[in-house]
């Protein structure tokens, strides 16, 4: 058995390398619901490889073979034993963590308040988060590119905190990450003589009629949904008739919407320790003074 561990390890690693490299060409990151019709892609789940059982199985086998190598005394230098144990442990924590951690996205417009427990579906964290202000800092050169963006958040109506890229904010065992931002147009709508304000994805009711505005993915058009009828117009607005009503729609303002990622990564400290331990043992294994 002992002599088969290394060849088996090499075979498993080869399969992992081949499938991982192929998966980078077929993976459906932007459209997770899309599946390929290609037989090989289907057979090895290459379009959804990272979440597939095959990936989990291969990495589990990889860990098992490392542990077998250690257990069967295939490795005879103590530092190599430690190195492989640390590596196996790190992979176990990663697999455990990847199956347990949670990721959610929340969006907040300026002035909007959100119930955190509802967003993360965890009643224990009964907090409110308000986006007081969204600030964008630009580079002072010809590019005028964004240098930094900050969400000024008020948690539980008392604590003010600033959320930035690379600077997460902690709430319980959750962390908030500044992911991105969006510009949401606010519209002023006049239907016959009645006037309202409405933003994208909002619904309002007028004389028992429902009005809803959506924006195309390419942002080149907006669609006004009036009961069952739809009218596609420019995002700047326009005048049109639907169900014998005269519509006058104008873009009045643009508000910033902060896109925040909420993550719960439980094993991070342990992984950090294991990562440092791995690098240290790797360094010792490579450059120790041999007797």
């Amino acid at each position: 058995m002992k002599k088969y561990i290394l060849p088996m390890f090499q075979v498993v690693t080869k399969i992992i390398i081949i499938l991982l490299s192929l998966s980078t060409f077929f993976i459906q990151r932007d459209h997770p619901d899309n599946t390929s019709d290609h037989l090989l892609v289907k057979l090895f789940s290459l379009d959804h490889f990272y979440n597939s059982g095959l990936n989990l199985f291969l990495f589990s086998l990889f860990i098992l073979l490392i542990l077998f190598a250690v257990g069967s005394k295939r490795l005879n230098i103590p530092i190599q034993v430690v190195l492989h144990l640390v590596l196996a442990l790190a992979f176990i924590v990663i697999i455990y963590d990847k199956t347990c951690n949670e990721h959610n996205y929340i969006t907040l417009c300026e002035g909007e308040t959100l119930q955190f427990s509802e967003a993360v579906k965890d009643p224990k964290h009964n907090h409110t988060i308000k986006l007081e202000k969204f600030m964008i800092d630009y580079h002072d050169d010809y590019t005028n590119m964004v240098k930094a963006y900050t969400s000024q958040l008020i948690i539980d109506n008392r604590d003010t905190t600033f959320l930035q890229v690379n600077k997460p904010v902690k709430i319980g065992h959750y962390r908030l990450y500044q992911n991105a931002y969006d510009k949401i147009p606010l519209y002023h709508i006049k239907i016959d003589e009645a006037e309202f304000n409405i933003s994208i994805d909002d619904t309002l009711t007028f004389n028992n009629n429902s009005i809803y505005i959506s924006m195309a993915e390419n942002r080149r058009t907006i669609t006004v949904h009036f009961n069952e009828q739809q009218k596609r117009i420019s995002p700047m607005g326009g005048t049109f008739t639907m169900n014998e009503f005269e519509f006058d729609l104008k873009m009045e303002d643009v508000v910033f919407q902060s896109i925040i990622e909420v993550a719960s990564v439980r094993g991070m400290v342990l992984l950090l320790v294991l990562g440092l331990a791995y690098l240290t043992t790797l360094g010792i294994a490579f450059w120790r003074k041999k007797p």
């Binding site: 992992i16 390398i17 991982l20 490299s21 964004v146 240098k147 890229v165 990450y177 993550a263």
Partner: protein
């Protein structure tokens, strides 16, 4: 912009003179004397780029294309005694080749762009240089691997190859671990199966083979090193231009 091109041209010219004289063994010393000025001009190029960009020279493809030959050329001075004639020739040739590629890079890629918010992190100062130290070691290892294929029983050469592969493997791992920490602070996850991340893991897995073959299998070891260099070139250039991902700015 033109200033940078002049520096790059002068450094390349000095390396070319050095390469020319290193072929002619009688005039080797003239070639030697050109190395230090060439590296100095290459260093000045990085200083000028950093000064005009207001950030260190490793935030986009072009900047790393001028950083890599500099890091690689440092071996000609720091590891001077360990580099014999043919290896030395190989290093100068590769530095020159990398400089030529940097000169021929299309203009828009050379433009200075300010840092995007995600790159504004102290982890960038460890993560990116780690990879380029590893890449320069892999270039060196590839030269040694080719020489090992020619002189299969040269134990000194094999030892040098071992050392280079160890440096490359250590820094590839350091790059990946610091990248994971940075990703945790930036994206809320230390591993997201991004294409560049996946290919970085592939590089490590392929190179790990090197340590799992017998010491006597010199041909296999050399083949693994050359194959790893190819996967690294794909990670560095191919992934950026062919595959989509979060590391599209690199």
């Amino acid at each position: 912009m033109n200033f940078e091109l002049y520096f790059l041209l002068v450094a390349s010219l000095l390396f070319l003179i050095s390469l020319f004289f290193s072929i002619n063994f009688k005039k080797e010393k003239i070639g030697e004397s050109m190395i230090f000025p060439a590296i100095f001009v290459q260093f000045l190029l990085l200083v000028v780029r950093s000064w005009s960009a207001k950030h260190p020279p490793f935030t986009n493809m072009y900047e790393t294309m001028i950083l890599l030959p500099f890091l690689f050329s440092l071996r000609l001075v720091l590891w001077k005694k360990q580099l014999e004639g043919n290896t030395r020739f190989g290093v100068i040739f590769l530095v020159l080749l990398l400089n030529m590629i940097a000169i021929l890079v299309p203009g828009p890629m050379k433009e200075i762009r300010p840092l995007m918010p995600a790159l504004n992190s102290p982890w960038m100062y460890i993560h990116v240089p780690s990879y380029f130290v590893a890449y320069s070691s892999m270039l060196m290892a590839a030269i040694l691997a080719v020489m090992t294929l020619i002189r299969k029983d040269d134990l000194v050469l094999m030892k040098k190859l071992d050392e280079e592969v160890k440096i490359a493997f250590f820094f590839l791992n350091l790059g990946m671990i610091t990248g994971a920490i940075w990703a945790y602070f930036s994206w809320g996850t230390y591993w997201g199966w991004d294409t560049k991340e996946t290919w970085s893991l592939i590089n490590i897995l392929v190179l790990s083979y090197y340590f799992h073959v017998r010491k006597s299998e010199t041909v296999s070891k050399a083949a693994i090193v050359i194959f790893t260099l190819l996967t690294i070139i794909f990670t560095y250039v191919g992934v950026t231009f062919i595959l989509p991902g979060l590391h599209s700015y690199t």
